[in-house]
C-alpha cells in the first residue's frame, strides 16, 4: 500500500474544465485527489459526500471522531444499528479492519498528527490558511464547535470545500477573516466551484485548477489576493 506522503501520481484531475463544478463534481474531484492509503476525516455536510466517490483501490481509511476507524457507507434498512453512527449521528456500517475507541483516543490520534487529511466546510478561508467554520459571530447565534477546532489543528492536511462567493457575491477566500477563527494557518487546499487553490506558507495562494469562464485575473479581482497561476505547471500533490 502506498502512503499519503509519496503517492504523487494520484493527482490526475484536469487543470481546466469548461464549466463550473457542481457540488457532486467538487466531491468527485476531492476524492480523486486523496492519495491511496490515506487516513481521512470527512466533515459534516458537503464533505461527507466525498465518500461516495472513493474507490476500493484507493484503500482510504475513514476516521469518524466519535470513535471509529474503518467506517463504511451509510447503513440502510436492517443494517441500521443505533450504536453505530458517524459524527453527523447518521447510522453507518463498519468495514473489515474497523476499530472502535473512546473520545480521548479519537482526538489524540487527530492532535497527534496521525490523520492525513480532514475535509471541512468553511465560511471563510484566509490567504494564510486561517479557517472560519464554527460560528457566524451573530449576536443571537448559539455557539457550537464540535470537533472543528481539533480537526483544524490536528490533521496534517486540511482541505476545504466551499462555494467561492457568498450570496452577496463577496469572496470567501479573503486576506483576513471577518468571521470568528476556528484554526490559524491550517488550511492547505480550497476546492470551489470555479477554482482550486493551494495555500503554502512559502509561496502563498496558488490557483491549481480553473473551471468555466473564470480566469486568473477574474479571481485576483474577486479575492483581492496576489494569486499565483499554477494551472499551466506540472501538478504536484500539495500534500505533506
Amino acid at each position: 500500500m502506498s502512503t499519503a506522503h509519496t503517492d504523487a501520481a494520484d493527482r490526475t484531475n484536469p487543470r481546466r474544465i469548461d464549466h463550473t463544478l457542481t457540488r457532486a463534481e467538487m466531491a468527485q474531484r476531492v476524492a480523486a485527489d486523496i492519495p491511496s492509503g490515506s487516513v481521512v476525516n470527512l466533515g459534516i455536510g458537503i464533505p461527507t459526500s466525498v465518500s461516495n466517490y472513493l474507490t476500493a483501490e484507493q484503500d482510504v481509511i475513514l476516521h469518524t471522531e466519535n470513535g471509529m476507524l474503518g467506517m463504511g457507507p451509510e447503513a440502510h434498512g436492517e443494517e441500521i444499528d443505533n450504536d453505530l453512527i458517524n459524527a453527523g449521528k447518521i447510522p453507518v456500517t463498519e468495514l473489515p479492519g474497523a476499530s472502535y475507541f473512546h473520545h480521548a483516543d479519537s482526538f489524540a490520534m487527530m492532535r497527534g498528527g496521525h490523520l492525513d487529511i480532514a475535509v471541512l466546510g468553511a465560511f471563510q478561508v484566509s490567504a494564510a490558511g486561517d479557517l472560519a467554520n464554527w460560528h457566524t459571530g451573530a449576536a443571537d447565534a448559539i455557539p457550537a464547535v464540535g470537533g472543528a477546532m481539533d480537526l483544524a489543528v490536528g490533521a496534517k492536511n486540511v482541505f476545504v470545500m466551499m462555494e467561492l462567493t457568498t450570496k452577496k457575491g463577496e469572496s470567501k477566500l479573503v486576506d483576513h477573516l471577518t468571521y470568528p477563527v476556528t484554526g490559524l494557518a491550517c488550511v492547505t487546499r480550497v476546492y470551489t466551484e470555479v477554482a482550486v487553490f493551494d495555500i503554502s506558507k512559502t509561496t502563498g495562494v496558488t490557483v491549481t485548477a480553473i473551471f468555466g469562464d473564470t480566469t486568473i485575473d477574474s479571481l485576483i479581482t474577486l479575492t483581492g489576493l496576489p494569486l499565483v497561476d499554477g494551472t499551466t505547471t506540472t501538478p504536484t500533490t500539495g500534500i505533506s
Binding site: D83, I85, F101, R111, P143, V181
Partner: protein, 225 residues
C-alpha cells in the same frame, strides 16, 4: 464476592444532591444512558452542572432533564442541532448557562481529571474565542492553550456488558465518552444491557476496568426498545 449491582435505577441515584456536577455519557443517542437520566429527573436534584457532548436531542433523555429545569449549567461541545429545541429555548431565555468546549479538549479535560493531571497544553482553540483569557505557551514553535481537568461528582454512563465487579465492555460507537467519564467522577453509575458472571468477560478485552465503576444497574434490551 464483590457485587456492585443495584436492584433499581432510583436506588443507584439516591444520593445525588442539589448542585452536583454530573457527567452523562453518549454522543447523540448512542451510549446515552436514557434510563439513568429518566431516573435523575424522577430523583429531582436541582442546580445541576451537566457535562455531555451535546445539549439534548428531541424530547428524550438529556433534553427532558433540561426541560425539567434541573440543569443550571451545561458543559458541552455542540449544543446547537436540528433537534435541540429544548436547550435552545432555555438558553435564549437565559435559564441555562453554557460552556462550549472543543470536542477534543472536552474529552482530554475529562481524561485528565481521571488520570490525575493538573492541567495540560492543547493546540486546539489557540487564537480563537474559546481560548480567550486562557494562558498560552509556545513550545517548539507551536502554540498551545492551557486547559484544566473537568471533575465530576457522578458519571452516568451506558455500557453493553458488565460483570458484578463492574468490568465493562461497550458496543461500537456507543463507547464514546463512557471509558473516560467513568474515570473522572467520585461515583460512577453504569446502566448495562447484560450482566454476566464473574470470569465470563475475557480480561484482554475489558475496556473499563471495574476499579472505575461503583454501581451497576441492568436495563434489558427490551426496556430500551
Amino acid at each position: 464476592m464483590i457485587s456492585k449491582l443495584h436492584d433499581s435505577v432510583d436506588e443507584a441515584l439516591a444520593d445525588i444532591r442539589d448542585g452536583a456536577t454530573v457527567m452523562i455519557g453518549g454522543f447523540g443517542q448512542a451510549g446515552q444512558p436514557v434510563e439513568l437520566i429518566d431516573g435523575l429527573i424522577r430523583h429531582g436534584a436541582t442546580d445541576l452542572t451537566i457535562v455531555n457532548n451535546n445539549a439534548g436531542n428531541g424530547e428524550v433523555g438529556l433534553a427532558l432533564l433540561i426541560k425539567s429545569g434541573f440543569v443550571r449549567k451545561i458543559i458541552c461541545s455542540f449544543p446547537r442541532q436540528s433537534d435541540s429545541q429544548i436547550f435552545d429555548a432555555r438558553y435564549r431565555a437565559g435559564l441555562i448557562e453554557l460552556e462550549v468546549v472543543p470536542q477534543g479538549n472536552l474529552a482530554e479535560r475529562i481524561r485528565a481529571a481521571g488520570a490525575g493531571i493538573g492541567s495540560f497544553f492543547s493546540p486546539t482553540g489557540f487564537g480563537t474565542l474559546l481560548a480567550e483569557g486562557k494562558e498560552t505557551r509556545t513550545i517548539d514553535g507551536k502554540n498551545y492553550v492551557l486547559e484544566s481537568p473537568i471533575h465530576a461528582d457522578f458519571s452516568l454512563i451506558k455500557a453493553h456488558q458488565s460483570d458484578p465487579m463492574g468490568n465493562l465492555v461497550y458496543r461500537k460507537t456507543a463507547r464514546n465518552f463512557g471509558p473516560i467519564m467513568a474515570t473522572a467522577a467520585k461515583t460512577t453509575i453504569v446502566q448495562v444491557t447484560d450482566v454476566v458472571d464473574l470470569g465470563a468477560l475475557d480480561p484482554e478485552n475489558i475496556i473499563t476496568p471495574g476499579i472505575y465503576v461503583n454501581r451497576i444497574v441492568q436495563i434489558s434490551q427490551e426496556a430500551c426498545a
